[in-house]
């Protein structure tokens, strides 16, 4: 019923489209999901595992369709199908013109709204994943702890893993790739504004699917969900696979949109030599995600066939193979780490010249480094399978490609330290994030070299050493870069400054805690503690206790960071247009940002890194923030400005 109602074509100048929001989406999802459940339940027996999986999967598909219909994702295409295209008024409505806060809860196409929505989703995911991390470390604080049962522990490890992977995939590309990137390119919106909204709401649709696993027996397989363990797992696994399928569609849509935007929407005069490195890195990241995520999605579709339709893709007894899953998973899984790390690193590369007051050092080398990483990262997946016994003779070649990737990665370090060299280092939270990345990512990189070496990997594979290694890359570089980017772009995104002093304290608490956790975990791994264990022999007790203490410190630092962000969002001093004196285009637009970003499309005559060059009187200077006014002002940009129209 709900679905049919939501799918009615749009009436001219109003009607249904204007009444849809997150509330109708949830109602649509729950309603249609319930219909799906009732129908499936009526026709299928639930006492057999396969059919109970069928019921759960049908319900989840119906939730997804109902939710997307309820948010209005199908309005425009169905209207178009009926021969009614959107008029100018409708486009303006979709862009969120004059709607205040409610546009954040709608299918809004303005890239600035989508960016803020991504910030909110990322923060929710990080909060849930972080809470799970605290619970995991509590269980591991001492051996034979009975804090949670083994079943709960395994469920938490799986959920923590996949939530954090999804959160870090979107953590930079979502908020900043959507909000900042188009302005940085001098564009009025993304290339496909409606796809932008679609990608965001597909993500929102996937989150409850994933979290539902917690109430359906959890994800007992870890985030990698190796089959046949995943074939054997309870109904929570269906939440995992459905969430991945929906997320992969969201990611493909976002990737196509960002790539097209960078390729076609750059301002006049923005040649490739004048395009900011952030644009390169974001395209590199989504360019990897476009081939990678569908492989993960295929792996989960095959798993769904195994679980619900009696398929045997991963079941050896039926002619299937566990190696098939491992290949599909790691063909996605290794590019995925670069999908996460590259946007964070390029955000920090965008930050470094601003706070070192120097041009980005060796821009061309940075571009070559990114290209090298993208190319090689598609050819290294089987280093996750050295000990799988799949093809021992191929371990040598995969060791070669894996170790080669250290060369382009090293170039990125070269660019950053070259930019810092003899700079005027202005120590702010974003700049400290650059330093934290230099520390963490070196450790993550060097330990990655040990793991690329076949004999060393044989000893370390599946141990806590691996866990520590990838946290140093995904959290130490990925999340650290996202936090640095948030502090850097927050004044442009919200029109308010964050508290630098408190922010610095929070940031340092997180970083110190982080290093304590994972240096402890390296020690445990070297000594032979397997990962994903709910208890361990007493020999590992000291290392684990150290890790747990560090984890609580991250927790405290993250809560403080959350406080800084929320209080800055509400009461922070008003940000000037260009508080850091940066030269990229997003700092040239006023606060609050007009709906169409630029009144007059900008023309670019130089690259954005000309610090210390040219006539000093024409330089951008950092402007002082204004104290917050007593009367509340719109905290979020764009609401009062009169745009001339969204991008064609």
């Amino acid at each position: 019923m709900v679905k049919l109602g939501a799918a009615t074509p749009v009436a001219d100048g109003g009607g249904l489209m204007r009444r849809l929001n997150m509330g109708t989406a949830v109602a649509g999802g729950v309603g249609f999901g319930a219909v799906g459940w009732l129908v499936a339940h009526h026709f299928l027996q639930t006492d057999v595992p396969a059919t109970s999986n069928q019921v759960v999967i049908v319900t989840m598909i119906c939730w997804s369709i109902g939710f997307m219909a309820g948010i209005g994702a199908f309005n425009a295409p169905l209207g178009w199908l009926m021969g009614r295209d959107l008029g100018h008024e409708d486009e303006m409505f979709l862009a969120g013109k004059d709607q205040g806060v409610s546009r954040y809860f709608r299918f809004t196409t303005d890239h600035k709204v989508v960016g803020i929505q991504y910030v909110a989703v990322t923060m929710v995911l990080l909060a849930v994943g972080g809470t799970l991390a605290m619970l995991i470390r509590t269980q591991l604080s001492h051996p034979n702890n009975g804090f949670v049962s083994p079943q709960t522990y395994n469920a938490m490890v799986g959920l923590h893993g996949i939530i954090m992977v999804l959160a870090t995939i979107i953590a930079v590309t979502g908020p900043f790739g959507n909000f900042i990137l188009p302005i940085m390119l001098g564009a009025r919106d993304m290339a496909f504004p409606r796809l932008n909204a679609l990608s965001l709401w597909l993500l929102v649709c996937a989150v409850p699917l994933l979290l539902s696993a917690a109430f359906l027996g959890g994800i007992p397989t870890g985030w990698s969900a190796y089959a046949p363990l995943a074939d054997q797992a309870g109904p929570g696994m269906n939440g995992f696979l459905m969430a991945i399928i929906v997320f992969a569609i969201s990611s493909a849509v976002a990737g196509a949109n960002i790539t097209t935007t960078v390729l076609t929407m750059r301002a006049r005069g923005m040649t490739w030599n004048r395009t900011p490195i952030f644009a390169y890195g974001t395209v590199a990241s989504v360019g990897l995600a476009i081939p990678a995520l569908p492989l993960f999605m295929s792996a989960q579709i095959l798993l769904a066939v195994d679980r619900a339709l009696g398929g045997q893709f991963y079941v050896a007894a039926g002619g299937g193979s566990a190696w098939l899953y491992e290949h599909l998973f790691w063909l996605f899984g290794h590019p995925e780490v670069y999908v996460i790390v590259l946007p964070a690193v390029v955000a920090l590369m965008e930050i470094t010249p601003v706070f070192a007051r120097k041009p980005l050092y060796n821009f061309n080398a940075a571009v070559v480094g990114l290209i090298g990483i993208v190319g090689l990262s598609l050819m290294v997946w089987a280093h996750h399978m050295y000990i799988s016994g799949w093809a021992p003779d191929l371990n040598g070649p995969f060791m070669l490609t894996t170790e080669l990737i250290s060369v382009p990665t090293g170039i990125l370090f070269f660019v950053v330290i070259g930019t810092i060299w003899r700079g005027k280092i202005w120590v702010t939270v974003p700049m400290v994030a650059v330093y934290a990345m230099l520390w963490n990512f070196i450790i993550g990189g060097v330990t990655g070299i040990y793991l690329s070496d076949v004999p060393a990997d044989v000893a370390l594979h599946g141990s806590m050493f691996v866990t520590a290694h990838f946290h140093y890359t995904l959290m130490g570089a990925g999340l650290t870069g996202a936090i640095g980017a948030l502090y850097y772009w927050f004044p442009k995104m919200t029109g308010r400054m964050l508290n630098q002093k408190l922010g610095m304290v929070a940031f340092l608490i997180v970083q110190v805690g982080f290093n304590v956790v994972f240096l402890g975990m390296f020690a445990a791994g070297l000594a032979g503690q397997p990962r994903r264990v709910y208890t361990y022999p007493p020999t590992f007790a000291t290392a684990n206790l150290i890790s747990t203490i560090g984890a609580y410190s991250i927790g405290i630092g993250m809560l403080l960071t959350l406080y800084v962000v929320v209080s800055g969002w509400r009461h922070g001093p008003l940000a000037p247009a260009n508080p850091w004196g940066a030269k990229t285009l997003e700092w040239a637009v006023p606060n609050p940002i007009p709906l169409a970003n630029f009144e007059v499309p900008p023309v670019v005559i130089a690259d954005p890194y000309g610090y210390g060059e040219g006539d000093p009187t024409t330089r951008h200077w950092a402007e002082e923030p204004q104290p917050a006014r007593a009367a509340p002002v719109p905290a979020v940009s764009g609401s009062s400005a009169d745009g001339e129209g969204v991008a064609p």
Partner: protein
């Protein structure tokens, strides 16, 4: 003529660069961090991995030490510049810096040196890795190895000795200094057979037999764990490997109905 001049020019500029005060300081800092890194590499990773119980594990620990030593000067370059910039090049005061830094866009010699040195180190690591891989692979397969069939099963290991009358056990007994080859499989999900102190590990896949080999060269009791999440009691899927003298091994075999 012009080439010589520009060469001279470059030599002078290079000399002047290395004599700059900040460059000397960074080099000093780099040397200090490198020495600290090398000392750490020699004493810490291998120590944490514990005393090896096979040539394979000895090889792995040597690799860890060697790679750590090789990585020390590289990490030290990054950290020395970072640390020095925070001390000496830091803009003091609350506001933004009054002036910009020098507009250094690129340096061809620096970029070339960086790429050459990192590629060279990469090749070095690769050659080391391939050599170590070769010697590890040949370790267990020479000299008529004893076969042990290992079966993973949620959540225990079973060891069978087909050449010794099919003795079965949930603890692994091995004679010291005798090459042994493990044929590993699983009856349910993917497990990973890991003898921690011997540095060997291979996945146990349902429907497949994977192989690994080792020569245990130290008597004692060692840890066998599962290294692939295999369900509820993955954490407890552990048992012991007892490496004993040949005579004692034979005694154990006969006590369990097998023959030498």
């Amino acid at each position: 003529m012009t080439i010589t001049t520009s060469m001279d020019d470059m030599a002078t500029r290079t000399r002047r660069f290395w004599l700059r005060r900040d460059v000397l300081h960074v080099v000093g800092l780099w040397a200090l961090i490198t020495v600290a890194g090398v000392l750490f590499s020699i004493y810490v990773p291998a120590h944490l991995m514990g005393p090896p119980a096979s040539g394979t594990m000895r090889e792995i620990e040597a690799t860890m030490t060697a790679f750590s030593i090789a990585a020390s000067p590289v990490a030290a370059v990054v950290w020395a510049v970072a640390l020095y910039s925070l001390i000496a090049w830091r803009h003091r005061g609350d506001g933004p810096p009054e002036t910009d830094g020098p507009a250094l866009r690129t340096s061809r010699p620096a970029a070339a040196a960086w790429i050459l040195i990192s590629s060279f180190l990469c090749v070095l690591l690769l050659v080391w890795g391939l050599a170590a891989m070769g010697s590890v692979a040949s370790a267990g397969t020479t000299g008529n190895p004893m076969v042990v069939n290992v079966t993973g099963n949620q959540w225990l290991w079973t060891f069978a000795y087909p050449q010794q009358g099919g003795v079965e056990s949930d603890q692994l007994y091995l004679p010291v200094n005798r090459p042994v080859e493990f044929h590993v499989t699983s009856v349910d999900v993917v497990h990973s057979f890991w003898i921690v102190q011997m540095g060997i590990k291979v996945d146990a896949n349902p429907g497949e037999i994977t192989r690994t080999a080792v020569v245990p060269d130290k008597r004692g009791t060692f840890d066998i764990r599962c290294a692939e999440l295999c369900g509820l009691l993955h954490a407890q899927m552990e048992t012991s490997a007892h490496v004993v003298p040949m005579a004692q091994f034979h005694k154990w075999l006969s006590a369990n109905g097998g023959h030498p």
